[in-house]
Amino acid sequence: MMGNPSIPIEYFVILSAVLFVMGVLGVLVRRNAIMIFMSVELMLNAANLALVAFSRQWGDVSGHLFVFFVMTVAAAEVAVGLALIVAIFRQKQSIDIDELHQMQG
């Protein structure tokens, strides 16, 4: 039933870690709010890959269900997030997060 031992699970987990780190870098380095959102999507995708890989390893379909829920939450997050970006753009004519520092610390 569980096929494919020719690709060890470690490869998938390492790929997932690399993609996740690239997503984190995107959030830290880029200042365009849309780019930050896309980096967050990349991080979610990387986490999904790890979930599916471990799901196959355990032979348990719960991991797939989690991925399903993550996708739904991502869709909700993108809908609200992009609406926020549109609202901010209308107000400030910019989506550069460095220009949005109303709360200064």
């Binding site: 020719s6 870690a17 830290l28 980096s39 269900l65 970006i85 753009f89």
Partner: protein
């Protein structure tokens, strides 16, 4: 290095490069397209990992719907042309890359030495059910050691499956005439025998008049499509071995010389108390019967063999009115769905609508709330009100700041109270 590994490495490289180009690309539209490439690579990875349903959802929902939304907003705002001003935090990119490298090195060692590949699938616990086909025997109650498996099962009936822990048990069968629940520590069982229950199997305990027939079945996925799996049990006491046959409806009673043409023997020479080897059959409708020395012992019956089921066919003596023996026999067919293929739409659907029904409802609610939220956020009035509020609070802040600075100036000789709060 196998071909699969080579393809994996190529797709992984494409995914990583797409992510890298997404990060460094100056144009937001290019970034979005690189992200789509990355997501398609991940969908391929899901296919490799036995998750065909998620691969499809990944392409339709992520690479399709969500990225179209991104593209829409990018084009709407003209954000692809918005260049980025130099950041105020010059150290952030360097620190970010440093921390990322550190994390990757740590994660690499954790993954390489953490032995994640040694995790093994959890075996499904064994399941047990009881079938009562003993003519003239009152309803039976079955215990495994001291745990009751079923409530009393009447003649010709079958209980549902129950999960138990794998292991060796002492199987005790009590025939309850008075309708009271028997006590396994005190009462003496009608029948008893040791039983060994293994993981991943579904065991059927068939109680006949004088013995117990224990039939283990495998309810895992049938690999071939359009196939049923069947096991035949002979619970007809004191008879010579029985043939279980399938009859061609075109000629239900062929002449002896045509037998080979119209009759297929599905389970040959089955003695009392035995069960046949489990075999597979193409799905479809069959006419089946039982023979002793080429004589039918029951009328031909219809067998509806639906695909992806496991059929347990039990031949047992028929009881007349008030349990009197009629001398005839009948059959009991128990059809159980085998588990669906791992990661397929059926499997996901079954799990989603049983174990994960509540989270599923909550997530749908979340989507609804997000939709309402998106509408409210982008309404013209909301934006206007927000703009007004920001202006008011800014002017109030400036006024307060002036007071603070005035009092501060009057008390000390400081020139500027705060640089950051003036925004």
């Amino acid at each position: 290095m196998t071909l699969e590994l080579i393809i994996f490495l190529i797709v992984a490289a494409v995914a990583i490069f797409a992510a890298a180009f997404m990060l460094v690309s100056r144009n937001a539209v290019h970034s979005a397209l690189f992200l789509v490439t990355n997501m398609i690579c991940l969908a391929f990875m899901y296919l490799v990992l036995n998750a065909p349903f998620l691969a499809m959802v990944q392409i339709t929902v992520y690479a399709g719907a969500i990225m179209v939304l991104f593209m829409f907003v990018i084009m709407l705002l003209g954000a692809e042309k918005l260049g980025e001003t130099p950041t105020r935090y010059k150290w952030l990119p360097i620190a970010g890359v440093g921390l990322a490298t550190l994390f990757l090195v740590t994660a690499y060692f954790a993954i390489a030495q953490g032995n994640v590949g040694a995790l093994k699938p959890i075996a499904k616990s064994p399941r047990v059910r009881v079938v009562h086909v003993g003519q003239g025997v009152p309803p039976v109650t079955v215990y495994l050691n001291n745990d009751r498996v079923t409530d009393s099962v009447g003649y010709g009936a079958a209980s549902g499956f129950r999960e138990v822990r794998a292991g060796d048990y002492n199987l005790l069968v009590f025939a309850s005439t008075n309708g009271l629940t028997p006590d396994p520590t005190k009462d003496s069982p009608a029948l008893a025998q040791p039983i060994s229950l293994r993981a991943e199997t579904a065991t059927t305990i068939i109680a006949t008049a004088d013995r117990l027939i224990v039939v283990p079945e495998d309810l895992n996925t049938i690999d071939a499509v359009q196939t049923v799996r069947y096991t035949v049990v002979n619970a007809l006491p004191a008879n010579p071995p029985i043939n279980f046959i399938s009859i061609d409806p075109a000629n239900p009673n062929p002449a002896p010389e045509d037998r080979a043409k119209y009759i297929t023997i599905l389970a040959p020479a089955l003695p009392y108390g035995e069960f046949s080897r489990t075999t597979t059959l193409p799905a479809g409708k069959y006419k089946v019967a039982w023979e002793i020395n080429n004589q039918r012992v029951n009328a031909p019956a219809d067998l509806d063999a639906r695909e992806n089921t496991s059929q347990l066919i039990i031949l047992y003596p028929e009881a007349g009115p008030a349990g009197s023996p009629t001398g005839r026999s009948t059959e009991l067919v128990l059809a159980d769905r085998t588990t669906s293929a791992f990661g397929g739409p059926n499997n996901i659907g079954e799990t989603l609508f049983t174990t994960y029904l509540l989270p599923f409802e909550l997530v749908s609610l979340l989507l609804l709330v997000a939709m309402v939220g998106a509408i409210i956020l982008t309404r013209e009035e909301t934006v206007k009100r927000e703009r007004k509020r920001v202006v008011v609070s800014n002017s109030a802040g400036v006024r307060r700041l002036n007071q603070v600075s005035a009092s501060a100036m009057s008390l000390t000789e400081h020139k500027k109270p705060s640089e950051g709060a003036a925004d």
